[in-house]
Symmetry: C2
Subunit: 467 residues, 2 copies
């Protein structure tokens, strides 16, 4: 190909890149989600990176060892709609954690992830949001005089009197994080504190429109989830990642109107919320629980289906069914005992303003749509069925009861699969019963789990998986 032609092609492509970036900015500004200036992978981004790299070489490296460090808990909120999940992934940079660690590194609050003693409370999936995600981590500190969770380097002078105020972690991080990820609070914690293992309970909310669902029936049925049950039929089993037992405890579960004083008469556009509080949750568990509730609300299944699927002796293999979609789900609360969260009035106000700005845009657009819907419904009086938009995958014309459907692989079969591959070992325990021990590298996210995998086994009932 001649040089001329190539040059022309380069020029044309550069123009197209410019156009696409401008469009992307318009879309993103319109959605009001992020303030990321350069799309990752773009040439400007790359040039920016090269500049930064050059700048780094010129700067004196930051001497972390000269500073105290302290173990802290950070409470954060994020809108998950524009991300590929919370946890860092191999095949994409677009995760909440990736942005978080960029911010931690940029503010020099940590030296690197590997040595930052990082634990996370939950691992929300693509599209899922959080109002109360909690992480624990070691951050740079000013507290040369020590304090809760503070480690002062040996050669740093310990001042008699109280040191200056601690670094404004929340403000520092929010300044560099994208708008849709916000640190809400921080708390000093003991060096042994773990956001993952010390979490006492996690609460999720799933919002849905009433449509023509029997919400009263759903509100009754949901109580069957409470208690300790084997939820293998209400999750996506992740044996490959070492999840081998599926008993989980639901402390409370309810279905109610999202807003107090719901409108009368019965309004299909009224929003409801499925709220569930548990010790820990399995991969996609809440979305499977919601899927069952939607089937019950449509009277396609009886409330007893919950008990039947929780009865793993009668039903050792999960029927094939779609889970509920991702965007209505929010990790709403994580509880920790004895953690004193600092008040961050000013930062909270900023976050409130930002949330309000998005809320105004979203609620007004929602009303524009509703106005048109009501304009059409004057002449079109069919019942408003809305739940189809909440299920993954395509809708089947004829409904097949769950217990009549093909079944997925059983737990035992999956275990054997990994035993054969040498990833799991079956050993004889003290009483002669078989126990299965996870052995070797985990798939995908091995570098992200804690180094102490035995500790994980023991804490499995308290660990959080993708929901």
């Amino acid at each position: 190909m001649s040089e001329e032609v190539l040059l022309a092609r380069v020029k044309a492509l550069e123009e197209e890149v410019g156009r696409l970036k401008a469009q992307l900015k318009v879309e993103r500004d319109g959605a009001g989600t992020g303030e990321r200036t350069e799309a990752p992978g773009s040439f400007k981004h790359q040039e920016g990176e090269e500049n930064r790299a050059r700048q780094k070489k010129r700067e004196r490296p930051f001497d972390f060892s000269a500073h105290p460090r302290r173990h802290v808990a950070l409470r954060l909120a994020y809108l998950g709609w524009q991300y590929q999940g919370f946890a860092v992934q191999e095949n994409t940079d677009n995760t909440v954690e990736a942005r978080l660690f960029e911010a931690l590194l940029k503010t020099k609050l940590i030296q690197d992830r590997q040595t930052s003693n990082y634990h996370r409370c939950g691992r929300t999936d693509k599209g899922v949001s959080a109002f109360s995600q909690v992480i624990s981590i070691d951050l740079r500190s000013t507290q040369c005089g020590g304090g809760l969770g503070v480690t002062v380097p040996a050669d740093v002078e310990v001042k008699g009197k109280a040191s200056a105020e601690e670094l404004p972690y929340v403000k520092m991080l929010n300044r560099v994080l994208p708008q849709d990820i916000r640190i809400l609070q921080w708390a000093p914690v003991e060096s042994g504190f773990s956001a993952r293992f010390d979490c006492q309970s996690r609460t999720y909310r799933y919002y849905f429109p009433r449509g023509d669902l029997d919400v009263e029936l759903m509100a009754e049925a949901v109580k069957r989830y409470e208690g300790t049950h084997d939820f293998r039929n209400l999750c996506k089993m992740d044996v490959g990642n070492g999840v081998l037992q599926f008993q989980r405890t639901i402390l409370s579960a309810n279905v109610q109107p999202a807003q107090l004083n719901p409108t009368c008469p019965i309004d299909p556009h009224q929003l409801y919320v499925f709220q569930v509080k548990g010790l820990a949750f399995l991969y996609h568990q809440v979305r499977c629980m919601m899927a069952l509730l939607l089937l019950i609300g449509q009277k396609l299944e009886a409330p007893e289906i919950i008990d039947q699927l929780l009865d793993v002796e009668k039903n050792p293999r999960k029927p094939q069914y779609s889970m509920a979609v991702d965007y209505p789900l929010v990790l709403y609360d994580c509880r920790f005992e004895g953690v004193n969260w600092n008040n961050e009035r000013e930062e909270e106000t900023h976050v409130l303003n930002s949330l309000h700005q998005h809320w105004v845009q979203n609620s007004v657009k929602t009303q524009v749509l509703l106005g048109m819907i009501q304009g059409l419904q004057n002449t079109n009086t069919e019942m408003t069925s809305l739940q189809c938009w909440l299920m993954e995958g395509s809708r089947q014309r004829k409904y097949t009861p769950l217990l009549e459907r093909p079944r997925c692989e059983s737990l035992e079969s999956r275990i054997q699969h990994f035993v054969k591959r040498g990833r799991l070992e079956q050993e004889e325990g003290e009483n002669g019963e078989e126990t299965t021990v996870f052995k070797g590298k985990r798939s995908k996210h091995s570098h992200l789990t804690t180094t102490n995998q035995l500790q994980e086994q023991n804490h499995e009932a308290k660990t959080e998986e993708n929901v």
Copy 2:
């Protein structure tokens, strides 16, 4: 630059283009608005166009003269958030009209725009939506036996009995239009019918959250708009396009809750609607009217400010103030006498489903945001001021009353400006008074206005401008 380097650059740029397009698709799919496959200006789009051009050459040209044509009215709805306005523009392809004409040409319902006898009822601006935009146009017809508004070519055999059913205009167009533009109905009309000049009234809705506004005061004040007034201080004057007189008639104006049975107690998150019905509207008129209402609702201006700005003798020059933002505005209804709209039950159902799908997504996301807002407000009890998000431009710290602000150019001054440039002529009328006559090409959209500009002058009071 060596060929190798150039080839590498081409490859890298092509990859970046691919990435950006994928991101753009994610953003657009996320916003749930359009099914446009290739971004305009992209190479694939260009290649697609080249293919289509080649295909055109190969096909036998469609013989429009062999078919009857009929004058029809089309009622359409669109979500304006992803478009640069309704009317075709020189500097962008991203308009509702552009998509509309693509569909009309693709379905071979028209031969070209210029000969299609096209009129539009309203010309909504960037970001503004419509539930009832109406256009009149000549479309291809099957009615060889004639009918209302039908013209049968001389050499086409007129059949004695009734011809086959008319073409399914609504279905044909909706199949090729983007999802966020929908034809709702069509109606046969007399050949002299004009969507622009025969419109009896236009109704706009502007949705806004209550926040801490005095909505009762706004509901009182809004009545001052009713009647016939000179609205030059409540619009963006467009003298360059021949708009020289600003008297407009408002048939009704009100402010009320968007939904019946508003919640008690007073809820800052309750949505209200400003609904205004008039014969015709000036450029940005509704958004200026809304801006004044918001100032009144904040008690920054008294309701009398409306009367004062409508008094063009006392206030011949408009104070500088921002109008309200675009996305809450909807052209909700256009009334025409004696037009019999066909029932399109099936199409209506499709549109309803599509609107419901978007509504579910939007309302659920709105609730996610509200849940977080309420979670923060438990500890943060400041009054919820929301109207700032509805004003264009940046907020001033200290409020300056409108009548104390700098003023914009007067109408007379603007007219002189164009007279000097030879675009307007001032003539002496019969009684000796001066009249101003528009002369010569209009700026920007001259090719889009009707050829009969005198007719336009006479009909100015009934014409629609960008709102």
